[in-house]
Structures are given as structure tokens and as C-alpha cells.
């Protein structure tokens, strides 16, 4: 097991941890806005770490480019979708949760 392998395994496992945090946040948080916050941020970082870990083991720069492109697309899509959903939820009159 080389240094690259170790680093790659560490990054992929850290990514899985962030995915887990995102899922727990989506299940446990009280309203749609806080769920959006947990989900989009947690999952995008998790995917980023996974992509980084896989890119370390890639054979060519073409593969690295494709992995980074997938990540960028998901980042863009996630940010756009979360803002759209949050804004239209506010317009529908859903009140953000406040501590009781």
C-alpha cells in the first residue's frame, strides 16, 4: 500500500463521513431551510472529497478532468437548486424555524 493509496482511502472515507452528516441533517433538522443547509453543503463537500480521493488514483489527466467536471456541475446545480427552493418556499409563506 503506497502513500497515494493511503491518502486516497482517507479522502474517500472522509467524504463518506460528510455524506452521512448530510443525510442525518436532512432527517433530523426542523424545517426546509435548515434541511437545505445541511444537505447541499454536506453533500457537495462529501462529493468533493470523494472526487479528490479518486483523482489521486486516476490514470490520465483526461480522467481527472472528467471527475472535476462532474463535481463542478454538481456544485453549480446544488447551489442553484437550493437557492431556488429556499426563495420560493419563503414566497409561499413558510416561516423559517426559530428556537422556541
Amino acid at each position: 500500500m503506497t502513500m497515494i493509496d493511503l491518502l486516497s482511502a482517507f479522502l474517500v472515507l472522509a467524504g463518506a463521513g460528510f455524506f452521512f452528516a448530510g443525510t442525518v441533517g436532512m432527517l433530523r433538522f426542523p424545517d426546509v431551510f435548515s434541511r437545505l443547509h445541511a444537505l447541499t453543503k454536506g453533500d457537495n463537500v462529501g462529493l468533493g472529497l470523494t472526487v479528490l480521493g479518486l483523482a489521486l488514483r486516476a490514470d490520465s489527466f483526461a480522467v481527472v478532468g472528467k471527475l472535476v467536471m462532474v463535481w463542478m456541475l454538481v456544485l453549480l446545480a446544488g447551489a442553484t437548486a437550493s437557492h431556488l427552493i429556499a426563495r420560493s418556499s419563503l414566497r409561499r409563506g413558510i416561516k423559517p424555524w426559530t428556537a422556541p
Partner: protein, 91 residues
Amino acid sequence: MSTLFIAVAVFLLLNLAAGLWRVMQGPTAADRMLAAQLFGTTAVAVLLLLAEGMGEPPLRDIALVFAFLAAVAAVAFVQRIWSRGGSHDDD
């Protein structure tokens, strides 16, 4: 090494299964759509891990398509269902 990737992919699949609870629970349509958002991101990660773990590079292209489809689905949801018409309590 590939065993680890496949194990992590299975773990992410279990995450997806847990996310289904939010689809059932609601309470608003937006919450259910959030679960779809989760599916989009996690499925991309699963496909990338399987591409490396099973040595099947074409799966990376499928991941690219999934990322694109998740974006289109979210925008279509907001445009057509969420931002006009329909109540958010009884759906």
C-alpha cells in the same frame, strides 16, 4: 483498495435508503424534493466509486448525466410545481 471503494458505495446506498424516510414524511413537497436532491448527489458519488472499484470507466459518463439530470429535475420542480398553484399542506 477496490474493496474499500465498493464498501463505501454500499454505505452511501444505505444513506439513500435512510433518505427515503424524508420522502415519506414530508411535510411539504419541497422536503420531498430535497430527498431527490440527496439522491442526485449521492448517486453520482456511488457511480464514481463503482467506476474506480470495478474498473468500469463508462460509469463516469453515467455519473455526468446523473449530475445534469438532478439539476434539471430541481429547476423543473421549482418552476412548474412549487412556485405557483397547489397548496403545500395537502400534497
